[in-house]
Amino acid sequence: MPRGLLATFQTLRRRDRFEDAMAAEMRFHVERYTEDLVLSGVPPAEAARRARREFGSLDNVKEDCREARGLRPFDEMRRDLRYAARLLRKTPGFTATALATLALCLGANLTIFAVVDAVLLRPLPFPAAGRLVSVYNTYPKASVPNDGCSLPNYYERRGQIPAFSRLAVYRDATAVVGETGATEQLPVTRVSPDFFSTLGLGPVIGRVFTEMETMEGKNGAAILTDGYWRQRLGADPGVLGRAIRVNGISRTVVGILPPTFSFLSSQTLIYLPLASSPDERAPQKRHSGTAHMIARLAPGATLAEAQAQIDAHNAAVEVNDPEARLIADAGFRSLVVPLRADHVAAVRPTLLLVQAGALFLLLIGAVNLVNLLLIRASGRVKELAVRQAIGASRRHVVSGALVESTLLALIGGLLGLAAGAGGIRLLALLGVDRLPLGSHVVFDARLALIALAGAIVVGIALGLPVAWLSLRNAAALGLQGESRGTTAGRAAQRLRHAFIVAQIALAFVLLAGAGLLGLSLQKVMTVSPGFRPANVLSGQLVLPVRSYPDRQTLLAVVERLTAELGRQPGVQAVGFATNVPLSGISNKSAATVQGHRPRPGEPPHGFYSYSVGGDYFSALGFSLREGRFLTAADSRRAERVCVIDEDFARRYWPRGGALGQRVFEGPGEGEADDAYTVVGVVGPVKQAGLVEDEAQGAIYYPFGHRADHSIYLVVRASLPVESLAPALGKAVRRVDPELPVNDLRTMETRIADSLVARRSPALLAVLFSGIAMLLTAVGTYGVLSYAVTQRRREIGLRMALGARPEQVRGQFLSLALRLLAAGTALGVLGAWLTGRAMQAVLFQVPPLPVPLLAATIAVLGTVTLAACLQPAGRAARTSPLEALSEE
């Protein structure tokens, strides 16, 4: 009855007042009755006595009134809680161990779950975010799995796909923002006008972009994020219409986004219109993926319908495309995928793996606690039997056990919340904010509620075996006491031993899993990046179009920068390139070898393509295989030359002879004058990561012939290179005071950072296994220690009959060994299954390498047996006289 329950809660809220009122009301009754009796002639003392007697037992009446108010279950719960709390206070050692175990295990799970929740579960902050999709072009046979989308894609599809209610494109970039002398480089996003309506969340003040503003030259508008508006403009309420300088151009602020606006992992502070010229929207650019497409599924439309419509639309527009054949050979398709799933696909397996590890830890901790609780309960068998004998119901025995374990779990859960809050801070050190959506990881009420609910579930689960055993014991034993031979005693012992075996097996799996991740990381770290990373610094520069409109000016500024940086003390070589290894960007483009006749169906291939200036190859430390490196002078020569890497050379000239060959930039042969002559072959470098599936091939053009506005500077020094960073920044500002240097990192840092997705899970797994080892040791110690105490009389008897201490010790150690052997056997099986399931995230590591197996057995065996030495030793030191005289 909900009304009644509501009334009960209201009474509970003002419980003291309720009790006082009830007492006052009954006192009043008795007094009035007494007065009436006195009036009718009864002597006062006799009247008071009679009034109280006729009223009946005050306590009973009150209890009945409380029950009438539905307070009974709450009062019972409170009594159980008080009793449980008293028991826990009486055994501080057990309570501390249990709480520490729970805090660690729940905290670890909460920490990892915070990440899983933010990255995989929590809806994106947009209305009906599940209807948002991403559409991207893929050319699998050209080894270009994701090329984003092109502007023609957007303009051709807009309004043509019924399954989409909205369609938009965006492009991430950086821009120099601010007045001369106080500029900073900021991430910006250029978006089509319907970007915000597709997401379903737009400016709170002002307006979105107009179609007019997407025309090149007319794009003088900007929409600011709440963060930029508050931090840089002091939350100026009259900001609309105010001008800000972006890349040297004055733009008008037309809108402010709400504070909650956060698009995927974007750090963007300013949104600009994605402006383009008619040329950029022409069908020839259909396969130049320079942007990303998002769309909102129309009501009732499915992903499959959208995919079918996109496929049909692609087929229709490609009919007259001269490149259609080439594109089809590359396996071209446009894929429609859920926006969020696509964004986090790469990290999903690793995250789930780490969460599984944390759950294993929790399982080990829980098994440990169940065993400790069982041992505790064994000590209370008589007490429970007495309670049942004097009328405690079965329900009462069960609820008593559950209340105790739930109380433990709740306190442990609260401690776990604290541990989790700390853990989430720790995650920042492990690079969690660099995960997709990683910056959304927060510790909030939702997480706290889930954690506490989890703690209650754990608490009930912990209490169930104890409750079961208590009922069984009480039924079997009555008041006889726990004799060693009873079936209930044996069942309890079997249960404890089974739990120890399970605990050892789980710890084994966790330890082996951590070992696999470690081995895999070690294997990856031995992979050579292809260059000499020591003492090399690299950073990104974006050269504004306004200051550097063409190739000549771009080349000139790069040359001036090279000279200025080269003058810094300690600098050995300075180079520039449009991309550096492990920069996080791994775009590829096509290149065509002159005279190469593709076999029918041979797909075009995407190569890593770099334009390099200065002394790039020496600065980064490439190895030369044939010919020569490109030099600064190649940029000024009319004759076009290039350098390719070994993978490129092997692809076309497997038997050698690459030098002197001619290569065109792009997917087809052009004018003979446009060809680049190969003058050198260098060793391959790792672009996307130390682990790449297959050799991709790379080509290096002189910067003067293929200039770009976004470049990386690379400096090799004879000194520790970090100390050079401030001087380099100043040197760049001497050349152009408006140029900030971005993403300045040593190449060694870039390598380390590229491994974060492997290192962090491995570190977490090691941490988890460490805790698991500790828990296993505590669990084994606890159970064996109890066994020794319980069998003290038997040991004493055997020793009195002539058993030597070594025999007694051996008896307990052999019990430990049997449990260890069973746990290990199960663990090996589990570890092998786990290793197989983990293959996707491992690098060149078999499911269960023999050395790892041996090491895991050794570590776990040592820890478990070490935990048994003390109890076994205590057994051996038993004095027969004392043991037999007890009780």
Binding site: R3, M26, H29, Y33, G56, C65, A68
Partner: protein
């Protein structure tokens, strides 16, 4: 006291509702009033009065309020709520039907059987 009758199960609630329907009463007053309106025929065990009052209040059939008693002491007064009034009507009608049916059955003459 031999004139007093034992209460039938379930009738205490009805009597309490009836008693407080006439005017607001404190617990002791309810006891006196039931005794009075039944012509001293019904005597309620004092201990079972309060659990019944608390149950009726819990069900929202009566409402309690602190007030001044006849001799200026604080006492808890009960009044009938709207829901209580409806319940009293239902129970009264139900009781009357039952009572007349039983009376009719008990007054049946042998020749009419």
């Amino acid at each position: 006291m031999s004139k007093t009758a034992d209460l039938l199960p379930g009738t205490l609630d009805m009597l309490i509702l009836k008693a407080v329907s006439l005017k607001p009463l404190h617990g002791y007053g309810v006891l006196l009033r039931i005794r009075q309106i039944s012509g001293d025929a019904l005597d309620i065990p004092q201990g079972s009065l309060y659990p019944a009052l608390y149950r009726l209040e819990h069900q929202g059939l009566i409402v309690a309020e602190w007030g001044q008693s006849e001799n200026n002491r604080k006492a808890k007064y009960y009044t009938l709520s709207e829901a209580g009034r409806r319940r009293l009507e239902e129970e009264t009608a139900g009781w009357n039907r039952l009572a007349s049916a039983i009376a009719a059955a008990l007054s049946a003459e042998p020749e009419e059987a």
